[in-house]
């Protein structure tokens, strides 16, 4: 816990040390802006958030579990399962004669419901059978991977309603030349004129969920219980918190956000495949740790996790714009992940 005295320190290096992510993001943006002129623009900002939607969602998924002192290895493949389930369901609903809109809505709702199951099982294994989180969620990784491979038989799903792509790649608001504003649908304009698109739909949707759960984590009793469980589980039990129930809830929320990431993937890329989120585990955990959470539990906030995820999203999009390949992202994420922990040890107590 930060004390009042520590809050008021005017020590500059310490302040920088505590807020190094913000500083780092500024440096990163400055670097990319100097290297390419195209980087510093409103479109790039939108692109960073658009490309990074899944990383943001998976990072929040991981955060809820890491706060309790656990780890969720299954998020990437729960996301893959959600892409497969939702796209299969959409195709099935359309085949049943539902309109594209209702098919997408129904499929998404059902997927989010099914997506709670892996979290329930994870939570039950961890809370009631005392299986270590690492093992329980790795088992779930195997199970969800297997089920989605069985569903797809190795072929990515296709023939999704075109509307899915329109929603996933559309924006919330469009400004046509002459100040005409329209929502959700791109206005028809003459050739050569550009329409300003503001905030991709998927970003709006994701951040609605993220804000909701930031409120739950930061302001509600349940959120405080999660920190208590991660801080000292024995003390949490003794103080009368229903630890088992809260643990299950944390894993269910994690699984819910992983499914949301899957839905976002389906809408954006109009396909579903089991390994859609296979390489995102590193990024999700890295975002949480860069955001200052401790793997031992009890710390971490949604805001800082978003900053951590933003670092990764800026790196990915920025490196893509300046023409560096994916390998650079892996190396830099690895380096920053390790540095984050070391910096946090030099400047402790910066969280909560």
């Amino acid at each position: 816990m930060r004390t009042e005295a520590a809050k008021k320190t005017n020590n500059l290096p310490e302040m920088l040390g505590r807020n190094w992510i913000a500083l780092f993001i500024v440096l990163l943006v400055a670097f990319f802006s100097l290297v390419t002129r195209a980087f510093f623009s409103f479109d790039t900002v939108q692109l960073i958030f658009f490309n990074g939607t899944e990383v943001f969602l998976l990072a929040i998924a991981e955060l809820f579990v890491i706060i309790t002192g656990g780890i969720d290895l299954s998020v990437g493949f729960v996301m893959g399962f959600a892409t497969v389930a939702s796209s299969k369901l959409m195709v099935a609903c359309v085949a049943l004669g539902l309109s594209p809109f209702w098919s997408i809505l129904a499929a998404s709702a059902v997927t989010l419901l099914i997506g709670l199951v892996p979290g329930l099982v994870n939570g039950w294994l961890v809370a009631y059978l005392r299986v270590p989180a690492f093992i329980a969620t790795f088992s779930m990784l195997g199970v969800t991977h297997g089920i989605s491979e069985l569903l797809t038989q190795g072929v990515p799903t296709k023939n999704l309603p075109a509307l899915a792509g329109d929603i996933g790649n559309g924006s919330f608001m469009y400004v046509a030349p002459g100040g005409v504003i329209s929502f959700f649908s791109r206005p028809q304009v003459a050739r050569g004129q550009t329409v300003l698109a503001i905030i991709p739909n998927m970003v709006v949707l994701s951040f609605l969920f993220i804000f909701l759960f930031a409120f739950i984590l930061g302001k509600m009793k349940f959120g405080r219980h999660l920190y208590a469980i991660g801080g000292n589980i024995d003390a949490a039990i003794r103080s009368g918190i229903n630890v088992k129930r809260d643990l299950i809830k944390a894993y269910v929320i994690s699984s819910l956000f992983a499914s949301l990431a899957g839905l976002s993937y389906v809408m954006k890329y109009i396909t579903g495949k089991p390994d859609a989120g296979a390489n995102m585990l590193l990024e999700a955990i890295a975002a949480v740790v860069i955001g200052g959470a401790s793997m031992a539990g009890g710390s971490g906030t949604v805001g800082r996790t978003i900053l951590g995820a933003l670092v990764i999203a800026i790196l990915e999009t920025g490196l893509r714009i300046i023409g560096m390949q994916t390998f650079m992202t892996y190396i830099l994420v690895g380096v920053i992940l390790i540095l984050a922990v070391i910096i946090d040890q030099v400047f402790p107590n910066r969280n909560r």
């Binding site: 779930m140 195997g142 199970v143 297997g146 491979e149 069985l150 390994d275 390998f327 690895g334």
Partner: protein, 374 residues
């Protein structure tokens, strides 16, 4: 002493399923302790009944040959898990070593045009791959001991770094070709070739047998088995019989006690991570010898998690201080036989992912239920 035993019995009675009975008998304890081995035997019996192709020396050698990498990676992971840590980078050190070895050989060999003797090309490729594969372990060890980075994070960062460097060497997502074809002969040949009617030869097939009708002769003991056995025996000896091994268990059992009893814990941990990384490098290099191309680790391959699974099924505990090489080998075989058997009896191989998950959870629940057994 007597009180202690009573307490132990009481705890045992309280926790064991079905309260007593079978699991209190020596047979019951034996089967709980060796459930993985029993399960392995059960699987072999079921698959042998289920399909005619399974119970066959050729297939068994296949299983062993194809799980060389898994044996070595699991052995590497076991060392780290015994100390109470975890190494998530080994799967990517494996890919790095394979790709780097192939790249060096490709450049030196240049399709046979460079004029360097083939053995020299191979030796230099191996040297490069093996010496580089020490570095991630060294970095892991130093970060964990001197910078107090949790093993999970340090090795996960190293996963990203190794994966990035591997993809850089592999030019994006291209397997690296162009290593001399002689390496395949080393990686894929057998110790003994028996032509029932004519001759016996060692290490190379009889010259009159073409690759096409290689199946007509009996091949015994793949070279890969020697490698796996050598690594497992050496590490088994080190863990079970040497002071180094005792210190490893001591650190995993209680870090504080190990420090107080004068073990140089930092140096020891660094060595453990270096050995783990080196053994994974050997595994990756052998993958190059088996396939003839440098393979990067595909995303979602989860080699390191599979290694953890084998280690845990083999009776080790992620909290440290526990685990044996023999158990780990059984753990690897359980996963390998599961995969191979499902393929042979024609059940979709995708069930194996589910199988791994279920087995892993069973392993931990059994471990929880019988804390005193192992």
């Amino acid at each position: 002493m007597a009180v202690e035993r009573t307490l132990k019995d009481a705890r045992f009675k309280y926790i064991s399923p079905g309260s007593g009975g079978f699991f209190q008998t020596s047979l019951g304890r034996f089967s709980a302790r060796n459930w993985a081995l029993l399960f392995l035997i059960l699987m072999i019996v079921v698959f042998s009944i289920g399909s005619s192709g399974f119970f066959d020396i050729v297939n068994f050698q296949n299983i062993i040959h194809l799980s060389t990498g898994a044996f070595l990676l699991a052995a590497a992971e076991l060392l780290v898990v015994i100390t109470g840590g975890i190494d998530l980078s080994i799967g990517y050190v494996y890919g790095l070593s394979s790709v780097l070895g192939a790249k060096v050989m490709q450049i030196l060999y240049a399709g046979g045009a460079a004029g360097m003797p083939v053995w020299q090309v191979i030796a230099l490729g191996c040297l490069a791959a093996l010496s580089v594969s020490i570095l991630p372990g060294l970095a892991n060890g130093v970060l964990i001991t001197h910078f107090k980075v949790p093993p999970f994070i340090a090795t996960m960062g190293m996963w990203g770094i190794c994966n990035g460097i591997t993809l850089f060497l592999a030019d994006g997502f291209m397997p690296v070709m162009g290593a001399p074809s002689e390496i395949n002969a080393i990686g894929n040949s057998y110790f003994l070739y028996i032509d029932p009617s004519k001759s016996i030869s060692f290490f190379t097939k009889p010259s009159y047998i073409t690759q096409a009708d290689i199946r007509s002769i009996l091949r015994l003991v793949p070279n890969s088995l020697f490698l796996s056995l050598a690594v497992l025996l050496v590490l088994g000896f080190v863990l079970g019989r040497t002071r180094f091994g005792k210190h490893t268990y001591a650190i995993g059992g209680s870090m504080d006690a190990a420090v107080r009893s004068g073990i140089d814990v930092k140096r020891h941990l660094i060595m453990i991570y270096v050995i783990a990384s080196f053994v994974s490098g050997v595994a990756g290099l052998f993958n190059l010898f088996q396939t003839g191309i440098g393979n990067y680790t595909p995303s979602g391959a989860n080699y390191e998690l599979m290694a953890v699974a084998a280690v845990v099924i083999g009776g080790a505990s992620l909290t440290g201080g526990k685990g044996r090489i023999l158990g780990t080998a059984v753990g690897v075989l359980v996963l390998a036989v599961l995969e191979n058997g499902l393929q042979i009896i024609g059940v979709s191989a995708f069930y194996r992912y589910i199988g791994v998950g279920v087995l892993l959870t069973i392993a931990v629940i059994i471990d929880r239920a019988f804390p005193d057994l192992f």
